[in-house]
């Protein structure tokens, strides 16, 4: 059996090996962990809040879970997607520095203007080109490529997280919250007209004011989120 000390050392080695040269991936992965923890904290805050009635919890907890799924999915899809594009552009040398162009040109990897494509040959900038697989990668290219690639990945990851956290997620969340709010109001109206024996999907004692108050004081786990 693994001792706690061995597990801890294994954890440190894992972090070093996986994120030591991949700052962009680290930002995406810790971002997702942050969103998951923030969602868990939010659900916990509703579930263990004495001021919220049992009936209201039945409505609010699934809403929080739905909210969390939307947030996490949109964050991961957009951020990792844009980071992947950045990484692909750098690895295929579609986006490169002049120093890298000089090396690739010297080795005949660049398709010059007017030059005819040789069938079956993969050129720099092609989908299947991978600069890290070149024979002279370790000796000539890595020192110029790695800092540039890391920078591109961090910038791409940042762009993705700005778009997902500040644009897509609020828009989707607002649509979702508005839909839920309308459902609550529709149920309140329905409750007024239906007979007592009908089963209510939403709590009958939640008024518009109470709903707004709940929304305004509801716990926020902002610092966990990226």
């Amino acid at each position: 059996m693994l001792s706690p000390s061995k597990m801890w050392n294994g954890f440190k080695s894992y972090i070093y090996k996986n994120y030591g040269e991949n700052p962009g991936s680290m930002l995406v992965h810790t971002g997702v962990i942050g969103w998951i923890l923030s969602a868990a904290a939010q659900i916990y805050a509703v579930a263990f809040n004495d001021k919220i009635s049992k009936e209201q919890k039945v409505f609010l907890i699934p809403q929080e879970i739905g909210d969390a799924v939307v947030n996490i999915a949109s964050f991961y899809t957009l951020t990792s997607g844009i980071k992947y594009i950045g990484s692909k552009l750098a690895k295929t040398a579609k986006l490169r520095t002049s120093a890298i162009t000089d090396i690739l040109k010297k080795d005949g990897h660049i398709l010059e203007k007017g030059q005819k494509r040789v069938d079956g040959k993969v050129y720099a900038g092609d989908w299947n080109f991978n600069i890290t697989n070149l024979d002279n990668y370790g000796t000539d290219i890595a020192s110029k490529f790695k800092p540039f690639k890391n920078g591109v990945e961090v910038i791409a990851g940042l762009t993705g997280s700005i778009l997902s956290s500040n644009l897509v997620t609020p828009l989707v969340r607002n649509q979702y919250a508005a839909k839920k709010q309308k459902e609550v109001l529709a149920n309140i109206d329905k409750n007024k007209t239906t007979d007592e024996s009908s089963k209510l999907k939403y709590p009958s004692d939640i008024s518009m004011n109470a709903y707004m108050k709940l929304a305004s004081v509801k716990f926020s786990s902002g610092s966990l989120k990226i």
Binding site: G20, G151, I155, G222, I226
Partner: protein, 181 residues
């Protein structure tokens, strides 16, 4: 069908012109961001962009009435300010703390006491390549960020929640003052 679509994507990609970055200043800045920027910078940038974008999105949300929108804007601003302040401070603090406890043998003075040595190396990874300083720096950033996230589970209740509530009420008060004028 999927394979055909993927071939189209590949062909389009291959035909796109390559982009060459020639300005040294731009190349240096990109490399600097990759090397030095980490989660505190990410959190700060997201906070700044959020305060510009999110309240506007909330205010333009015509699906809800004006009263709800006002509360929503106040709460969003409060949430962003509280979340950014604690998020940046904790991430930066933890990364600094981890850096102090993940030294390489060369970074510790030769005359340091065994206990000091142990403390200063308690978070140093066993598979460390002492020659690769960048990897160690990124490890410190990653470890600091992960441990700060664990700490934030608690500080969210202790700092974020009351600060958000306090700021929301302040902003709602300011809105009311503005309306009364």
């Amino acid at each position: 069908m999927a394979a055909v679509n993927f071939n189209i994507v590949k062909n389009v990609y291959n035909r796109l012109p390559s982009i060459q970055v020639s300005k040294d200043k731009v190349i240096d800045n990109v490399a600097y961001i990759g090397k030095k920027w980490s989660s505190p910078h990410q959190r700060a940038i997201l906070g700044l962009t959020a305060i510009v974008m999110q309240p506007y999105i909330d205010w333009k949300n015509k699906n809800v009435d004006e009263k709800t929108r006002k509360v929503s804007v106040a709460r969003t601003c409060a949430k962003i300010i509280a979340g950014t302040l604690t998020g940046v401070a904790l991430r930066a603090g933890f990364i600094k703390g981890i850096a102090a406890m993940s030294k390489t043998a060369a970074e510790i003075p030769a005359n340091a006491k065994p206990f000091t040595k142990k403390i200063k190396q308690c978070l140093t990874p066993k598979n460390l390549d002492p020659a690769n300083k960048d990897a160690l720096e990124q490890y410190r950033n990653a470890m600091g960020t992960i441990l700060s996230l664990a700490a934030m589970v608690f500080t969210n209740f202790l700092i974020d929640a009351p600060l958000t509530k306090f700021l929301t009420n302040k902003f709602i008060g300011l809105q009311k003052k503005g309306e009364d004028k």
